[in-house]
Amino acid sequence: MSATHHHHEEQDFLFKYIFSQDHKMISKQFLITGFLMGFIGMVMSTLFRLQLGFPGESFWAIDFFLGSWAENGVMAPDKYLALVTMHGTIMVFFLLTAGLSGTFSNLLIPLQIGARDMASGFLNMLSYWFFFVSTIIMLISLGVEGGAASAGWTIYPPLSALPQAIPGSGLGMTLWLISMAIFIASSLLGSLNYIVTILNLRTKGMTMTRLPLTIWAFLVTAILGVLSFPVLLSAALLLIFDRSFGTSFYLSDIYIGGQVLEHSGGSPILFEHLFWFLGHPEVYIVLLPALGITSEIVSTMSRKPIFGYRAMVTSILAIAFLSVIVWGHHMFVTGMNPFLGAVFTFTTLLIAIPSAVKVFNYITTLWKGNIIFSPAMLFSIGLVSTFISGGVTGLILGDSALDINIHDTYFVVGHFHIVMGLSAIFGMFAGVYHWFPKMFGRMMNNTIGFFHFWITIVCAYGVFFPMHFLGLAGVPRRYYTNSEFPLFDNMLDINELITWFAIVAAFAQLLFVFNFFYSALRGPRASQNPWRANSLEWTAPVEHIHGNWPGEIPEVHRWAYDYSKVDENGDYVNGEDFISQVVPLGPNEKDGGH
């Protein structure tokens, strides 16, 4: 018994920090790797924003970061596309899929359901290492001959299939595909573990309807991943065949570089179908964990139960279900059968209903609460705002008749950055501020957090809101510069403004980086339950131990949202404004929101 304790102290460095199978350590590995990649993605966006805001001007920073990609400090047009592609790939997959799900699913699933670790620590470790290898390959691809993949993060063939079409479709694209294949393996391994752990290893009393919403969100996210990532893999595989072996799954009737290619009979549209069958669920894979995290935080920090727990769960499920039958809304102008287009419009607009329910429930949770504005809470409120601001424009894009004129314009860029990019990033920041004490045993600095939040949200809207106007003026996305069209000459001011906001936003993230490292190393020590929260992770000791709880795993007796519960006399049940899940129900007390 006490011998076991002895055991971990002797664990050598390699197995404790590098090849750890402990979910808490793996969670930190995901977080750090994800953030590092996110930082790189952000620097890329700042660089290409410089080009868009000040087309053709020479910049020291561009010269410094891009070297041979930018002669005299002006990036080359095809390298602009390489940067945009890498930025999108990194942000969507590495930061907001692996970084977000990997961090919080790993940290919270065992701790919140009352398990000693994941179902398989080994697979969990593999999942991280696959992820790590895929990031390394993706980074290496930046330096190869011809440059990194440049066909957009959606890598539509034939552009992505033919090195003659753009230099990045040579070795860079090959590495992109390899990296993504490994990434998909990582993501599947992670998802398997999350699902099985949640379904099989809950502690006594932790029924499905007592699960915190975080766990529901992680579960559904993992299921979506298992259903949709394999399809992306099949799409990528056929693309690899076309590129490397000369098959014709996607290619047909092509004349390029003065030559007719041998390929015939394939269809590029097929790729789009397969890609978006993953691609759309992917945006919810990014978003749902963020929604789960903020549900938890909004409730805790409002000192109120989350409003409509069952409706929240139902809407997560509804969103997930609908998300696999809407992919066609990315293909309205590919010449698809108009009837199909109509079906996809219908399913797409339906998603607005569960989304609206979620928003209203968040807002009602704030109503008559007792709100503590921790940085985590600020980011959660920010998420609700971005989810609304970006969500409403989805009604425009999802409507096929309207999409004709704004498809692939900056309107889309504005829309998805706000609803998916910002919401997910805000959820991730909220999660880090909130569970930092659980991860590092120390607290983050609030004041810096306040500044971080306000500068970020102001600049983020400053970057992405004006993009809608660009789109409505007809400015296409993925343009190296708008200066070739007299029609867009008046837009230069807007682009400049956006770039300034982007630069400030990027620098503001240094506040977070500083706060993160300072607090991890020097921050004040955390108490066991600093936010006075109900869920199970706060019953575990501050120091990380293998197996999470020193003794028996606590038994659960109630749902996670008994905040400010009062008895007939109007006094707090249990004497405080929160009741941990491990406290047994009183004689007259009912469980859940009844």
Partner: protein
């Protein structure tokens, strides 16, 4: 301090008993989605591309018989081990491995037949139909390779008499995966007949 910690071997075993099968099942679900993606790609292509008719080599039919038989032997082998008939179990599990290898061989023969009939995998002479034929069967075979490796391990362990009524998890996992591969093959075979 109670005895339930992660270092405790009984605890580890208990977790494994509880989660190994669900892990496998959900893994199988992702393989299903992988092939669902591929076969729906075929259907989409069939609507757009020029579609060739292809003579299905009879070797594919033979390999279907082999893999069905192998599932049967695996089933019998597993049941024997469960009833502690170790020798019978050993034999049938060995037979499964051999049938699996025969399946692989007949797949190879089928490909050479296809090639002789002028169905090529890639290049200017190729058609999407032919490429799908090779791709689908090869990707199934790739998954079968994993099954063969697990069968090899199971064989070694059963020869060493590691399995018995109490300890059967490895066999069960391997056989679940194997039956899945059989079902997948039958589905693909019917699908190939349908698209040819």
């Amino acid at each position: 301090m109670t005895s339930i910690t992660l270092e405790n071997n009984d605890y580890k075993k208990e977790i494994k008993q509880k989660t190994a099968k669900p892990l496998l099942w959900i893994g199988l679900m992702s393989i299903v989605m992988f092939f669902a993606g591929l076969t729906s790609a075929v259907i989409v292509s069939k609507g757009t591309a020029v579609w060739e008719t292809i003579q299905i080599p009879s070797a594919f039919a033979i390999s279907t018989v082999f893999i069905l038989l192998s599932s049967l032997t695996f089933y019998i082998g597993e049941r024997s081990l469960k009833n502690n008939q170790l020798t019978k179990g050993k034999l049938f599990i060995l037979a499964t491995l051999l049938l699996g290898l025969l399946f692989t061989v007949t797949q190879y023969i089928a490909w050479t037949d296809l090639y002789k009939n002028g169905v090529v995998w890639a290049g200017s002479e190729s058609s999407a139909t032919g490429s799908y034929f090779y791709a689908l069967t090869a990707l199934h075979l790739l998954h079968l390779l994993g099954g063969l490796i697990s069968l090899l391990v199971v064989n070694i362990k059963s020869i060493k008499e590691k399995y018995n009524t109490e300890n059967l998890l490895g066999v069960q996992l391997s056989s679940t995966y194997w039956h899945f591969l059989t079902a997948l093959w039958v589905y693909l075979y019917l699908f190939l007949i349908f698209i040819a």
